[in-house]
């Protein structure tokens, strides 16, 4: 039988003055919180700042936790809100964002282990490029849409949980996800049209017409007798 304290017990112990309880709780969930912060903020420096803001807020506001949701949901809510606050404060749309972990993945054996079909360096390169494009497109979205997609489509949380984390209605999360996916579908069209195609080779499309097809000339009337 495990003697490990539950999240609720740890949070309660922290509120009651146990100096180590919050640290144990945070360590338990920090990797996933980091993933959410990283994907929401788009780069590791801002993610670390946002996560730190959330950590400080959660530590100090622990007594306000009502216990009507999972502790991890509450932690995510605090961290995501801290990240969104930071984005709003900076009023930055990070269009240039590239994943900071791309280089890390390049040399990691774990990637090969996780994707045995991608042993071929060419396949790995395609995966990395696709990943880069996806994260770049994700960075184009408004922060609220991005946060919803990170929680639902990346982290796999149920919409109801994501709504609790984002402190909004379930319908709002669905709407944000839907609009976000629609926008991503536009931005990532070359990847969607042919999933196996190389991402930098866009499918041929009809060229954009440089001007109106209609003639600017006034329509000719019926022939007039000479």
């Amino acid at each position: 039988m495990s003697t490990e304290r539950t999240d609720h017990e740890l949070l309660r112990a922290h509120v009651d003055g146990d100096p180590e309880a919050f640290g144990i709780l945070f360590h338990r969930h920090r990797d996933r919180l980091w993933a959410v912060a990283l994907r929401t903020m788009g780069n590791r420096e801002d993610a670390a700042d946002g996560l730190q803001d959330g950590l400080v807020a959660a530590y100090r506001r622990a007594a306000t936790f009502r216990g009507d949701a999972a502790v991890t949901t509450w932690l995510h809510r605090v961290v995501v809100n801290a990240c969104l606050d930071r984005i709003r404060a900076a009023k930055v749309r990070r269009t240039e964002t590239l994943p900071d972990d791309l280089e890390e993945y390049r040399d990691r054996g774990s990637l090969a282990a996780a994707a045995p079909a991608a042993d071929d360096p060419a396949d790995l390169s395609v995966r990395e490029e696709r990943r880069r494009l996806v994260l770049g497109a994700l960075a184009e979205l408004p922060a609220e849409q991005r946060a919803a997609l990170v929680l639902v489509d990346m982290e796999g949380y149920p919409v109801a949980d994501a709504a609790a984390m984002l402190d909004c209605a379930v319908g709002t999360v669905k709407s944000r996800c839907s609009r976000g996916r629609a926008r991503l579908a536009e931005l990532l069209a070359p990847l969607l049209d042919d999933g196996s195609s190389e991402p930098d080779h866009a499918l041929p499309r009809n060229p954009v017409c440089p001007g109106p097809v209609e003639s600017d000339d006034a329509p000719r009337g019926p022939p007039t007798p000479a």
């Binding site: 640290g23 920090r30 990797d31 993933a35 990283l38 994907r39 670390a48 400080v56 994943p99 579908a185």
Partner: protein
């Protein structure tokens, strides 16, 4: 497969599934330790607490030894003459007389690095500075002067466009500001510090003629607790 499904699949593939990087983990451990110390009623003179802190400091230094000194070198912080507070000084005191340049060169001497610096990442970003400057009420004037000299703060001229704005504060000192509010204190370059162990801000005022005023504000106060006038360089 619909576009919607394909997008979801692409997003799932782009999920970040690696653990938190060591330098970030060390930094957040430091923040947690700060929060614990803030909450703990035990005085710093308590030997058990001091021992625990020293052990923690060593752990931070070991955990982030590879990234610490790069950040210190990039920030050009001069620790000479700047005291370390409480129990930490026993560990870090050996390096307190070294110059910033010596510290940069002596990258293997982790013991000479201030404990807070252990959480600094390799990129040395300003946002990672977490009040590494320790000031004491006894040596305030000399310590501020030493810091200004060592940190190569370019003196602000009265006609300069002030670099420290609310916007900069949001990105530079936001983490510190989250736990140490600073009211409307006027123009100047703001540096988060510890003053006799308490969080505070130093505000380096624009140079006026041959002098530069430096004010110290404890958290939440709008009137300076200490002030010193330094000769302009």
């Amino acid at each position: 497969m619909s576009d919607d499904d394909q997008v979801r699949r692409l997003l799932a593939d782009a999920r970040h599934d690696e653990p938190m990087p060591d330098d970030v983990a060390a930094r957040l451990d430091g923040v947690l330790a700060d929060l614990r110390d803030e909450k703990r009623p035990t005085p710093t003179s308590d030997l058990a607490a001091a021992h625990q802190r020293r052990r923690r400091v060593r752990a931070w230094v070991l955990a982030a030894a590879a990234v610490v000194v790069v950040g210190v070198g990039a920030n050009q912080v001069d620790w000479s003459g700047i005291s370390m507070s409480g129990a930490d000084s026993a560990d870090a005191g050996a390096g307190s007389a070294t110059s910033a340049q010596e510290e940069s060169a002596d990258r293997d001497d982790a013991a000479s690095v201030a404990p807070e610096a252990a959480s600094a990442p390799a990129d040395g970003g300003a946002a990672w500075r977490w009040a590494r400057l320790r000031l004491s009420s006894e040596g305030f004037g000399d310590e501020v002067a030493d810091f200004r000299a060592g940190n190569q703060l370019h003196p602000l001229r009265s006609q300069d466009k002030f670099e420290t704005t609310d916007g900069e504060l949001a990105s530079d000192g936001a983490a510190f500001a989250a736990v140490c509010g600073l009211g409307r204190v006027g123009p100047g370059r703001r540096v988060p510090v510890r003053y006799d162990g308490d969080r505070a801000w130093l505000v380096f005022r624009p140079v006026q003629g041959d002098t530069q005023v430096v004010d110290l504000y404890l958290c939440g106060l709008e009137a300076p607790t200490r002030s010193i006038t330094l000769p302009a360089r």
